[in-house]
């Protein structure tokens, strides 16, 4: 009776439970090899849309890419450290991903190039393996190289898929086309950026956040203000921006003032509510301490309550940084001088110039990320003492 039970217990002990089970990078290499081998029997493209299918053997250059990649992986196998073999495998991945670009450059159509696509899938699995090794190493490799390779992989995939399958330009342009448009249209994009970001967003953001902060301090001193304003905050956050934008245009005209006004309406209440929450964050005992020092209202505010409120203030500032950009772009749909990011998107969509629309989206995304990232860095520098930021 006790025999199987004991054996079971021993078996349980032999395989200790792991907290997290991740796919093992070691098991991926056979998958890569299998996929690549399968790819060998499939075509790698056609010369032109109507041309005959070309196989690996019919294209010595493609074969060279394949052999080079295989050689890299093979050399990597005999490397002394996992890191060195990962670097060799990365070289193989780059070589593999260069193949579709080479074929596209020769005018190949990749719509039915199943051998080539399977080969790319194998290369992507190999990249997974490389990233798994890299991300186990702390430092710049993990914090910069891994996200960089990841993003590069996404862009390359986008580029190859769009060009390989000849996706219509209207639906989705290739990243290279967007980049070319961005460069060619730089003066226009800069003028739009200046109008929308520098004129509308920055001013509206500063006024909205500043007013939200100031009114929060006032409401802290005059309690009925807080009671009256907080329900209004809920109403304001439910107002559709497409409703107030035309009204603001009628009030403040076509130029940046009306956009700034929309942003003020959007950012005022998040800042007010966050500041009020931050001002309430000080503990009773800390307030009593300031009282025992005979510190007045403003002293207590500056030395205790505002430092305690900082994490909340940053929260409001970060939420508002994205709200402000969205607000300005959408508000420009409802009347603007013939410049601005929202104006550009609305007019170029109508003219089917989707590459300019995409270029504008790139500018907006970069601006938003930098804005938010800058605030996050500032937060880390000034609230390093907060439990959520502490590094011992």
């Amino acid at each position: 009776m006790s025999g199987p039970v004991l054996a079971q217990a021993a078996g349980g002990k032999a395989a200790p439970a792991r907290p997290v089970r991740r796919p093992s990078p070691a098991g991926m290499l056979p998958v890569v090899a299998g996929l690549a081998a399968l790819a060998l029997f499939l075509p790698i493209g056609q010369r032109g849309a109507e041309g005959a299918a070309v196989t690996w053997l019919g294209h010595p250059m493609a074969l060279l890419f394949l052999l080079g990649a295989a050689l890299c992986v093979g050399t990597g196998r005999s490397a002394v450290t996992p890191m060195r073999s990962a670097v060799m495998e990365l070289a193989a991945v780059l070589l593999a991903w260069a193949l579709p670009f080479h074929l596209l450059g020769e005018g190949f159509d990749l719509g039915r190039a199943w051998g080539m696509w399977l080969f790319l899938v194998a290369a992507t699995v190999l990249l997974w393996r490389v990233l798994a090794v890299f991300s186990a190493v702390p430092g710049a490799l993990r914090s910069a190289v891994v996200p960089g390779l990841f993003g590069l992989g996404l862009l390359a995939g986008w580029e190859v898929v769009v060009r390989g399958f000849s996706v219509p330009f209207i639906l989705l342009p290739a990243p290279s086309a967007i980049l070319a448009t961005t460069a060619a249209q730089a003066p226009v994009l800069w003028a739009d950026f200046y109008q929308t970001v520098v004129k509308s967003v920055l001013r509206g953001y500063l006024i909205g956040c500043g007013a939200g902060f100031a009114v929060a301090i006032l409401a802290d001193r005059v309690p009925f203000l807080a009671r009256g304003l907080l329900p209004l905050g809920n109403v304001a956050s439910a107002i559709p921006i497409v409703g107030i934008a035309p009204i603001m245009v009628m009030w403040f005209g076509f130029d940046w003032q009306s956009k700034a006004a929309v942003i003020v309406v959007m950012t005022f209440f998040p800042m007010l509510i966050n500041t009020l929450a931050g001002l309430a964050a000080s503990e009773r005992i800390q307030i009593d301490l300031m009282r025992s020092y005979a510190a007045g209202y403003w002293r207590t505010l500056a030395l205790l309550r505002l430092p305690n409120a900082l994490p909340f203030l940053y929260n409001g500032l970060k939420i508002n940084s994205t709200l402000a950009l969205i607000g300005a772009i959408v508000a420009e749909f409802f009347g603007t001088p013939v410049v601005g990011m929202g104006f550009r998107i609305s007019t170029e969509v109508a003219r089917m110039n989707l590459d300019i629309v995409w270029a504008t989206i790139v500018v907006a995304a970069l601006t938003g990320s930098l804005f938010y990232g800058g605030l996050a860095l500032l937060e880390r520098a000034t609230t390093a003492w907060h439990p959520s930021m502490r590094r011992r």
Binding site: E283, R291, L303, P307, W385, R392
Partner: protein, 280 residues
Amino acid sequence: MVLAQTSLQPSEAAGGAPDALPRPIVQADKLSLVYQATDKPVVALSEVSLIIREGDFVSLIGPSGCGKTTLLRVIADLERPTGGAITVAGTTPEKARLDRLYGYVFQAPALYPWRSIERNVMLPLEIMGLPKAERQARARAQLELVGLAGFEKKFPWQLSGGMQQRTSIARALALQPELLLMDEPFGALDEITRDHLNLHLTQLWRRMGKTCVFVTHSISEAVFLSTRIVVMSPRPGRILDVIDCDLPRERTLDLRETPEFAAIAHRVREGLKEGHSYDD
């Protein structure tokens, strides 16, 4: 020298004839405090009369809800009494607070996490408007006094609970107050740290000769530290007994094993028993 004026022994500081009593620092006369709770009024203090003289170390002891913390907060002008009279250092508690005549040590260290240990101790001095050099000198001296020299640049969360509470004592002392008010400062600490800090505190008190009011619910802590022990009782908060604790001023932890110590502790325990019915 900064410490010179405070290092006088209490008897010398009082001046006058040698048998004259030292000057009263806290004088409470039929002090009452009634809170208006939602259902019925709560009597936190009922006709409390007490004189605390210069150089005294007075412990307020009693079960939870006996008003010991409330009494301390009234002395500190953190609460206003609803009846009776109280003077602190010969003036009203409010004037004493505005003149920064007392230092208050809370149950928790209440250090500001964005300030280093040194800048935490400098906080009250900053509010007083002292020049930077003097702030720094005073902070360094106080930190050395509580045995935290070398920790000036650390941040509160990098220190143990006992060190944090010592920092808060240094912060209270940096004001160079006439009166040190302490509200269960070691309540949250383990017994070993607590013993250590008790010893530290009694040595500090003997050296500086300050008047201390100390809230606790540990009998041995009260007997070990005090010159007088005020036994309080809840519902309503009132004083049951004031016990003179005439042990020598020079105290070591071994004192707690002596029969004199045990006798006073016994009297305190009897007093607490008298006022506390365990039925409610």
